[in-house]
Symmetry: C2
Subunit: 239 residues, 2 copies
């Protein structure tokens, strides 16, 4: 069976894709999926993505770590937001984190409705993710979480990095995967510099998270691949 | 007032943009907006875009030329489809053409609902279009018609060509306009070669319209800028 790679540039376009037999990789580079990968790699037992701050609150007082971010900032009264620096082994090992974010959680919930399987991608686990996708006899949809349903550069660049790695092992590429790969080739020697052109970068600079951005653009510092089982993200068993 | 340029990569994302004070440029390079520009440049009195083949039929027997295309082919019984070679002065001068196409008409109708003004872009009138946009004290949304609501390369490349030309005269660029411009810079030395990578190119090759594609990628052979007045496209008075 021919293996397709497609890139869905924002969740608002997900309905155009038939993913019932495909693996969907959810991508929200700044910062949800980077933090999820880092947290699972650092021994978090599980991460539960929830749709909104109210849903998150229902888990309070039961031993969970609660993480809530809206518009890039930690919601008052929560343990942390989605800065990757909150997801160190000291903080999350053996714990379950309940997480709500602006864009990433929404994309995850949408993908779960229709996909064969949903996994999490970030630059932090790029190589490990691609190596595993090559072993699967499945088409792949790379789902960019975007920013409030709009296209963003950082998620698209990561999608392009995956396309680039998988090119020889897949048969069909849609127009958006071609565009994403070409943009990644342009940007790959200095991702940060490239992203400084972007609107999101200006927005995030205002939130003083330049260190987070630097962290999230590191390649291959983790091997873990989070997978969605029911409503919970856990480490995929890849052996 | 700061002037924004934004690129809406498919009509399915149009609801994300506030265009009530903006000029929307509708782009359907292969082939609707190329043919519309060529037809108006060749003296067509007007071109009426309609939503479907049935609407088109209501104009029959009243002296209009009827053009209908679905999935890239002329609908049986119509005068022509949307090959630009049908829009020569011999065929259209002094005539009104009623046109329905797969993607372009849909984008036009959507834009009309919300935009300050709707005009038509193609490589054929690129320079003239950009020169006029520079004289307007308005933000610009470049609306790619795409292919059945999905992203396509050729419309995005044209959007990038416009961004590139207008860069010095505008203040704010969204992520998709940055991406479109970079893709155009990659492709501009040989647009056809670049588009041979695309999925749409394969689809169109199957329809035997390689000559149309070549025609539609010519730069600046027309000066006309079609503008939508009510439900009708006519030549914009630019002087």
């Amino acid at each position: 069976m021919p293996k397709r790679i497609e890139v869905c540039l924002t969740p608002a376009l997900l309905h155009l894709y038939d993913v019932k037999d495909s693996i969907v990789v959810v991508i929200d580079i700044l910062r949800a999926t980077s933090s999820i990968v880092y947290g699972i790699a650092n021994g978090a037992s599980a991460i539960i993505p929830v749709a909104n701050v109210e849903d998150c609150l229902q888990y309070s007082g039961q031993g969970y770590l609660l993480a809530a971010e809206r518009n890039g900032e930690v919601v008052e009264g929560y343990d942390f937001g989605n800065s990757p620096f909150s997801y160190t082994a000291e903080k999350v090992a053996g714990k379950t984190v309940v997480l709500t974010t602006t864009n990433g959680t929404k994309a995850l919930h949408m993908a779960r409705e229709t996909a064969y399987q949903v996994i999490i991608g970030s630059f932090l686990n790029l190589k490990s993710l691609c190596a595993w996708l090559k072993t699967q006899d499945r088409s792949v949809l790379l789902l960019c979480a975007g920013w409030k349903d709009a296209f963003n550069l950082e998620d698209t660049l990561f999608a392009g990095a995956v396309v680039s790695d998988l090119r020889k092992d897949f048969d069909h590429f849609d127009d958006s995967s071609i565009a994403a790969e070409d943009l990644y080739q342009l940007a790959k020697n200095d991702l940060r510099k490239y992203l400084h052109k972007s609107s999101h970068s200006h927005r995030l600079a205002a939130l003083n998270i330049e260190e987070d951005v630097k962290f999230c653009l590191q390649l291959d510092i983790c091997k873990a691949i989070p997978v969605l089982i029911g409503d919970t993200l856990i480490a995929l068993e890849t052996d």
